[in-house]
Symmetry: D2
């Protein structure tokens, strides 16, 4: 298929590379051009703008940092919305707000374009290995047509429902659940340390018994190491996602008390100078609050 791939960050680049390997014809665009040029040798064409990339595409994939970047690439004059041909499909894989996703669904609908969402779970290493988990939503026919694309970037594709916003909600709720793990692990590790227990041995115990999940291994290790300066996913980005989860919940009158608590601790983390640290720094804040 003729695909326009918009956004070549830590996640987008390996995803685009996997699509090239799967035999798709890619035109790529990135705000910082150098990242796009790097894919030329692997067969990608490079466009001068998001709109130009979309002009001759059957499918446009957006994998951008936030709502603002998506609005700019898609909704601004000369962007994807205006240039994608009638009948084309936009696969939104970015972590964006439910509100923006709704608006995109509406605008694409008006233009006879299709819109599906397919946010991904996993870190850059998983993206490189094609091992992401994909949560997809939208009208059935459009999802089916794009399935081979989604399967090329992920180890498994889960169809969440027929409204595009549904996958956005799943992505945001998933990030909330990760944040809840970080917060509660951080509190528990601070507690056991106060009793003289080694945090690494504690995490070893947890992740080899009831909590044998990747997310506990990753974040348990990061909190026990207590070196949040090396940000894999910066606190301010985690805060952005928690804000989106709270907004999605607020707009349907669903309280998320644990998310509220995490939100407030993240703000405190920023207030206490940890904006650029990994979001596992929540564990460090819990330790400080416990006098460690």
């Amino acid at each position: 298929m003729k695909i326009a791939f918009i956004g070549l960050g830590n996640m987008g680049t390996p995803m685009a590379r996997n699509l090239l390997r799967a035999g798709h014809e890619l035109t790529v665009w990135n705000r910082t051009l150098a990242k796009a040029e790097a894919l030329k040798s692997e067969g990608a064409k490079v466009a001068g703008s998001a709109g130009e990339a979309a002009k001759h595409a059957e499918v446009v994939i957006t994998m951008l940092a936030d709502d603002h970047a998506v609005e700019s690439a898609v909704l601004d004059g000369g962007g994807v919305m205006e240039s994608l041909p009638r009948g084309g499909t936009h696969i939104s894989m970015s972590t964006i707000s439910v509100a923006l996703s709704r608006r995109l669904a509406e605008e694409h609908g008006k233009r006879g374009q299709h819109y599906i969402t397919a946010p991904v779970f996993g870190r850059p290493e998983a993206a490189a290995a094609g091992k992401l988990f994909v949560a997809a939503a939208g009208e059935e026919a459009a999802l089916e047509r794009c399935m081979s694309i989604l399967e090329a970037v992920g180890q498994r594709v889960f169809v969440i429902g027929d409204k595009p916003e549904m996958a956005n909600v799943v992505k945001l709720s998933g990030n909330f659940l990760i944040a809840a793990v970080i917060e509660s692990l951080g509190e528990a590790i601070a507690l056991v340390r106060k009793y003289g227990i080694d945090p690494h041995e504690y995490v070893e115990f947890l992740t080899n018994s009831l909590f044998a999940a990747p997310v506990y291994k990753t974040y348990g290790g990061l909190i026990a190491d207590a070196k949040p300066e090396n940000a894999g996913f910066a606190l301010r980005l985690g805060l952005k996602d928690i804000r989106l989860a709270l907004a999605a919940a607020d707009s349907v009158n669903a309280p998320l008390p644990v998310a509220s608590l995490v939100h407030d601790h993240m703000l405190a983390g920023i207030g206490r100078g940890r904006e650029k640290h990994d979001w596992s720094v929540l564990g460090k804040l819990a330790a400080e609050d416990a006098g460690l």
Copy 2:
């Protein structure tokens, strides 16, 4: 070894059975005698009191419901403390408070008895299969002498440290982490349901991607099923454990904000008539608060 086994509830009975199978000589005691009689045919002797059971034992294991039951069987006149021979060892496997564990350590020490702790993680089925996880703590020599006993009830024994209270803290913090999973899953499931997403499919997605841990499968399923009337572990018992975790944290000035929040929601659950429901009823409360 000559073992006195005190407490034959849902967990204690299968654990005692596994010790008999492993070739240990067991004298058992239970407040409700019938449960003790049931083990006679498998080779156990039945004692008339906890103290009597301990009189000729090398090792006494307590697996009782709460602090009160342990105090009554161990500390009251004619109990384990008075009758266990000098040099004998008490393995406390119950989920008890750090304060009581400290007191037991002190009292046993005065009498030249040994005291180690070995609380277990897992449900009755895991106990029957000898698949519990055991977190053990206490002086090294005593732990070593008892290792074959601990291995007979669990699939893996983790040595946490040399102070008995350490394993109690690990147990309480572990139950806190389970409660945190229930609470945050309950909130997330309420949220996605508000967007029309099927809760079972959502749990299916989570537990086959980042949250592939037993605890998410068990509680995700229970919350999605929304039938908390069938209590595996009643809300009031969960509340008891969260109270012990908060007390353990409070006594070392470690804040546990997520545990405070869970504690308050559990109280609200009791206030709203769910005392005897499974503690996954937290998910039902979250749904009600979201207008579902």
Copy 3:
């Protein structure tokens, strides 16, 4: 002065009446015309639109329900923004978001118009008696020119600072503090009731000792009466204001944990069917959660 008064609700009508009494020349507008007509006999002119009311005014006062109503009356085509003469002043007395207030400041500035804010504290009875408290902000000269207007509606005017948004923040933080009083009083009253203490006598004690403030008297009485069906200020309006307070705080990275907690309890109140009850219904929810 020639004043256009936009918004004649429970608060706006008595405020407009006080301005008429103080000798000002008023042109009024309200979405529901009947409320405007009622002021005719007291000397007000009635305009057909907000823009028309503002066309010949020196000062426009907006006293509307929310951001949406202000945007519609001021920013839409043919509205106040377009029709207020250069050099005219807009006094925004509504409880609106900091974000909208900033935008209004910017837009008025571009047009050579003045913009000050003057949100009020107090209930309709206080408005009728001219006993409101006014928190005003904006450039000094504009504030001075409008001081006689502000003094006509309030018993006291406090100048908060030179940026218009400052008074909006004060208003929102003030409503947050009231909500915090309701929530904590509700919890305390539920607690003492569990001990058999009469809630009215308890409130009597509090408000005649350390908590001798109007807000404790009003809300203590309402919670003790436990008849939140009679809404003075509906829960959904209280929620709106808490949302604005949280948004104002979030945008400057200031955590407000008590506001987060109140927000989540308000959502639970809506989920549990109390949307239209007085916001003192928070006390009823606290009672239910305590099993009362």
Copy 4:
């Protein structure tokens, strides 16, 4: 009346002095003898122990720091419980736990002694001026006999109910409400400071409008001054009281979410080195969390 007065701290000394002035015959006792000697010149007799002071008394008043001090003076061998004559009355004015108050009621009852509670609200200056507020509870006849005593120390006596524990609950809930004011004011002041608003002017506004209560004036001023090093009431004492309030609520299954939040912030304050600061330091923590 013949009164034994036990406990001559910052509060007890001025209270005892007022009783002397009112013409009562006082025998005093204090752990640090010097403080007792100071009252000799004003007519008090000094006893060598709490028990000795109570031996010939009609009424014993305890005004001690905490549960431990009361247990030691009253329940230990040779203490007040053993030596107070049958028919004598113990007025417990200390801030103690509901659990201890119940135990005292029971023990005094067994001995044919009377037990009432009368905790006080106010700071040392108010005690000196006889301007405390007194919340009294217990059997009616005993309260009546002691009324002149209570009126000598307070500006007003409120009878809460006929069970002694009731006044303890009122005292603890009152301190919780004060802590809630400190916490929410601290958050609000941090917020307005982020918008460039002067905290003193803000407090001036609040306390001259809706929040014209002593508690807002006192704590608003302390937070705005931001000098919590000068402890009037140390954070660790505030924490003690919040712990007692939470325990009183927990034992009747009443959730106090705001108290939980305050408790966790107080622990964080201790973890961050502010144990000995005034409890208004909660406002400083809120400011730090907001990046101020």
